[in-house]
């Protein structure tokens, strides 16, 4: 048995335990993504990083040692986790409106937890397939607004108006605009909705919408 | 970006000439006889196969995967990870343009682009359509005093030339020289 300190709380764990075991034993929780206890701990996603004696290490792989001082959460760790999740979302083809996971998605719950805005309202929306509002031709902003509201409006049958703001990622916008175009949602109809945050749109998104829609402000 | 490479490799059918399957089998058998059915010698086996065919033919890798009892994707994982391995067949001459720091700073990327232009290569294409020349980017050769430098190897490994202190127009001339040389060789093969 070795003694380690998790956020200054003393914990005793067995010799061959991992940092994550010690953290869990102390009653704290580390967000994980690629880690599957006992099956997979190649430490590839780097979401579960913690600090051991000041060094950033993946808790799912790092072994404990006597007197290790583990910090589970601080501003830098939160930033690192957030950046890594954002990077993951950057390569993720976000098409929540047609995704098979139907919102039961670890990425979504993790981004909610870490405060990463990258997943659209569609991920939480129960109206999938044929009942999707966009598919029906309604100007619903779901594909490009930030999730977290549990899709209150689409759930009740009215299009999303984007209360929580838009997603900054260009890729999401490209895919969303494609979806609108495919389903004959006229951008002129969307215009009034988009104008809700029109003046805050960064240059690249502004240019993108202009290119696709010829919508002039 | 090797995973993209492996993905396209798995999806697309074999490009280039397809030989008699018995030829692949004999090479694979010989390689396995030499190294034993040992997973840890995979890199050496692939090196041997490449020496035979100048690239790693899909059929040979499939046979290797069956014989070694490991999945094809695992073999391709290794094959795409290391620079030495080529998945596409090469031309008669392989021109490697050094992209070491010194060569890059002295303009090797312009030479590379102009050489591709001379051969009329399209994006993602490395070998001229007549099968004469393959142009590749290469890691530092360690001849930085000759920068920018290119190395030309014939695909059977019998000839090797180094050209140093190049500029764009000399680079173009070198490509055309080797192209006519390669055409002669190809012609000779046909006549035989």
């Amino acid at each position: 048995m070795v003694k380690v300190y998790v956020n200054n709380n003393e914990v005793e764990v067995s010799q061959d335990a991992l940092v994550i075991d010690a953290v869990e034993k102390a009653g704290y929780e580390v967000p994980t993504l690629c880690y599957l206890k006992g099956l997979f701990n190649e430490a590839t996603c780097r979401i579960c990083v913690v600090k051991v004696n000041g060094k950033v290490v993946p808790s799912c792989r790092f072994p404990v040692f006597e007197g290790a001082r583990i910090i589970v959460d601080d501003s830098e760790l939160r930033r690192l986790r957030r950046v890594n999740l954002e990077l993951l979302l950057a390569t993720h083809e976000i098409k929540c409106w047609s995704c098979v996971r139907k919102g039961m998605c670890e990425l979504l719950s993790l981004s909610k937890r870490l405060g990463v805005e990258g997943i659209p309202v569609c991920s939480e929306c129960p109206l999938r397939g044929r009942s999707c509002l966009v598919l029906k031709g309604f100007p619903c902003l779901g594909p490009l607004t930030v999730a977290g509201c549990d899709a209150e409006c689409p759930r009740r049958g009215s299009p999303c108006i984007g209360c929580r703001g838009y997603i900054m990622s260009e890729d999401v916008w490209v895919r969303a605009l494609e979806e609108f175009y495919k389903d004959n949602v006229s951008l002129n109809e969307l215009k009034s909705l988009i104008s809700f945050f029109w003046s805050y749109l960064p240059q690249n998104l502004y240019r993108l919408v202009r290119e696709v829609s010829n919508v002039e402000y | 970006m090797y995973y993209e490479q492996s993905r396209t490799y798995l999806r697309t059918p074999q490009s280039g000439a397809v030989l008699d399957p018995r030829r692949y089998l004999s090479v694979v058998d010989r390689v396995i006889c030499k190294y034993g059915a040992d997973r840890s010698k995979l890199i050496n086996m692939l090196q041997e196969i490449q020496r035979e065919f100048q690239h790693l033919p899909r059929q040979a890798l499939e046979m290797l995967s069956v014989k070694l009892g490991i999945s094809l994707s695992e073999i391709i994982n290794v094959a795409t990870f290391y620079h030495q391995f080529r998945l596409e067949p090469v031309g008669v001459y392989v021109i490697q343009v050094c992209f070491g720091t010194t060569c890059y700073l002295k303009g090797s990327s312009e030479i590379y682009e102009s050489m591709r232009k001379v051969l009329g290569l399209r994006e993602r294409e490395n070998t001229a359509r007549d099968g004469t020349i393959t142009i590749e980017k290469a890691r530092c050769f360690g001849c930085c005093s000759l920068a920018p430098v290119i190395m030309v190897t014939s695909s059977d490994g019998s000839e090797r030339y180094v050209h140093g202190r190049l500029n764009v127009s000399e680079g173009k001339r070198v490509v055309l020289d080797y192209r006519s040389k390669a055409l002669m060789k190809l012609k000779g093969l046909k006549n035989e």
């Binding site: 430490a43 690192l80 950057a90 | 970006m1 030495q84 391995f85 360690g142 930085c144």
Partner: protein
């Protein structure tokens, strides 16, 4: 062995004339094999009985191909940049005692007939040839040559000592790893020595993937036995039974020479069962890897030998659980050469050079915009300025040094006003670079720092194994942002993002590749922020490198009106009549740069 010594000195007396021709990858590329042919022809023609000796390279690459002539009554003389057709004349004149055209003579005393001594040349005088002492002097494929210069005496000394004493000597020497971070060599040895295991391994890391660094290749090609001797000593110290020398298949000559050395050492009883009558048995295999930059990382190197790819998370460190789960020590080629030399010459000879914290000498490759490209061995703590200006001769006329890139793709750029920094591990680290394997690339005013950063990021992106997220995606995003900067579509927030993202990648990556990959970006951003800002705010590339930010013009004086550019312009922005100077319509030009590449007369200029 004593027989061999006598035999060696015997042959020396017989031959009247000795011709040394360097045969290493670099000199061969410069045409040394043709020079060798012409020398043999010339000797036959002149009727001279001479011994042609194939040596390694002495590291002064700008002299390639050089030859050295030695004869009784005349000092050994070095001729630089020899062309095959000159060989006959040089030999004839030398035999007649006429040394005109020679670069230098290798003698202790003053010059000879107006030819300076090698020691009077600054690029030789300022060097301390400690591990590279034999490079370019002995025949790398002859163990007798190595034995004559005191070879394997270090191994004999080490084998008389206990294992702990050997480690103690390395500890006292203060030798640090010459391959990168400067980890104390003795510490790895000690940890591996203390492991209880029936099988242990030592690996010599000769992968050397850094572009612009080739000192390991040069050392192993020119003096392979020194590396091998160091490896055997390391094997003895930790109690290993097997060693590997890890070489890239792309460096065939290096692998061949090491294989020859291993064979010869086996014949002489330095390898195999019960070495030199002790109960220490050890054998070495040269492993030809298929080449990947990440193999410089210890765990990836081990994975390559095991037939896999990709590094893994440390700990456990290789010293406790490495190759096939056994304790493994991995040392760089140069480190092992240092070990052998320390045991040959004694501690004092080594510790008298260097700084308080890092002892000894280090080989540096100085390339890029300098007159005398080459490998220079200098004491650690030498100023960058000395290396760049006095040894390598500074930039060519009309250029000025803008920065020095130290440590390859994991290193950083040191700006020109910090050239008085001393080259040692800690100083470089505190200024955002690393010593790495010791490659110095001199960047001049015609190079754009954004482009340099982009180059290194493209390199690391292609080399990233793709296992962990920050390196796989993060480096790609860094590259995308740099591309935006280089094409003038970035904003000032992007620069801030670049810095923040770079720091995150460094903190949370799995291995050293990702942990150092953002270094080139962060260091250029730190010292050349104004250049980045000029790209972003003014949309201008001061060095006229970033093709999207320059304007293209046709110089009417050079244009012959062939019309090639107009034919190839994708947007038909070039117009004119055949035979007369063409013109580029800058409002339609998309700055693709095709015309510049296509123009046969170099008439297209960047403005």
């Amino acid at each position: 062995m004593s027989e061999a010594l006598e035999l060696g000195s015997g042959t020396r007396k017989i031959s009247e004339l000795i011709v040394r021709v360097p045969l290493a990858s670099c000199t061969l590329a410069a045409g040394a094999s043709k020079v060798l042919e012409s020398i043999e022809k010339a000797l036959g023609k002149l009727g001279l009985e001479a011994r042609v000796k194939k040596t390694g390279c002495m590291g002064l690459c700008y002299l390639d191909p050089w030859i050295e002539l030695e004869s009784r009554g005349l000092p050994p003389t070095i001729y630089a940049n020899v062309k095959p057709e000159q060989a006959e004349g040089i030999i004839r004149r030398y035999v007649e005692g006429d040394l005109s055209g020679a670069l230098a003579v290798r003698s202790e005393a003053s010059g000879f007939k107006g030819v300076p001594t090698l020691n009077s040349l600054p690029e030789w005088r300022l060097q301390v040839r400690y591990v590279s002492r034999n490079c370019g002097f002995i025949d790398p494929e002859s163990i007798e040559d190595y034995l004559r210069t005191g070879g394997y005496s270090g191994l004999k000394k080490a084998l008389k000592l206990g294992r702990e004493e050997v480690i103690e000597i390395v500890r006292k020497s203060g030798l640090r790893g010459r391959g990168g971070a400067g980890f104390p060599t003795w510490y790895k040895w000690r940890v591996a020595y203390e492991q209880r295991s029936d099988v242990k391994y030592v690996i010599c890391n000769g992968d050397e993937g850094d572009p612009g660094a080739f000192m390991n290749r040069l050392l192993a090609e020119s003096d392979p036995h020194r590396v091998l001797e160091g490896l055997i000593i390391a094997g003895y110290a930790i109690g290993a039974s097997r060693g590997y020398i890890f070489v890239r298949a792309e460096k065939p000559l290096m692998a061949d020479r090491l294989e020859v050395a291993v064979r010869q050492a086996r014949d002489y009883g330095f390898l195999g069962e019960k070495i030199l009558g002790t109960d220490f048995s050890f054998d070495v295999e040269v492993y030809r890897s298929a080449g990947a930059f990440v193999c410089g990382e210890e765990t990836a190197l081990i994975a390559a030998i095991e037939g896999r790819s990709r590094p893994r998370q440390r700990p456990p460190y290789p010293a406790t659980s490495g190759l096939w789960g056994k304790p493994t020590v991995i040392n760089n080629v140069e480190t092992l050469a240092h070990v052998a030399t320390i045991f040959q010459t004694g501690l004092d000879e080594f510790t008298k050079y260097g700084t308080e914290r890092s002892k000894g000498t280090k080989m540096f490759c100085v390339t890029g915009s300098v007159r005398k490209t080459g490998v220079y061995e200098v004491p650690i703590g030498t100023k960058i300025r000395t290396l760049v200006y006095e040894l390598a001769g500074g930039p060519p006329d009309g250029r000025s040094v803008k920065a020095v890139q130290v440590g390859g793709p994991s290193g950083g750029c040191i700006p020109a006003d910090l050239l008085d920094l001393e080259l040692d591990y800690e100083t470089l680290q505190s200024y955002g670079a690393i010593m790495g394997s010791g490659g110095l690339v001199v960047i001049d005013n015609t190079n754009c720092m954004v482009d340099v950063a982009k180059y290194f990021i493209t390199f690391t992106l292609a080399e990233s194994c793709g296992k962990c997220l920050p390196c796989r995606v993060g480096v790609k995003v860094l590259g995308d942002i740099l591309e935006k900067v280089a094409s003038g579509t970035a904003t000032l927030e992007d620069l801030e993002l670049l810095r923040e993202l770079g720091e995150s990648i460094m903190r949370s990556s799995l291995c050293a590749l990702g942990g150092t990959a953002p270094n080139p970006v962060l260091s250029t951003l730190r010292y050349f922020k104004n250049e980045y800002e000029e790209h972003v705010v003014m949309r201008r590339c001061p060095a006229k490198v970033c093709s999207r930010l320059v304007t293209y013009e046709i110089d009417p004086a050079r244009c012959r009106g062939c019309g090639q550019c107009a034919k190839n312009c994708p947007v038909s922005a070039i117009s004119g009549q055949p035979g007369k100077a063409f013109k580029i319509d800058t409002s339609r030009c998309t700055k693709c740069g095709q015309c510049l590449i296509i123009c046969p007369f170099g008439a297209v200029v960047k403005g």
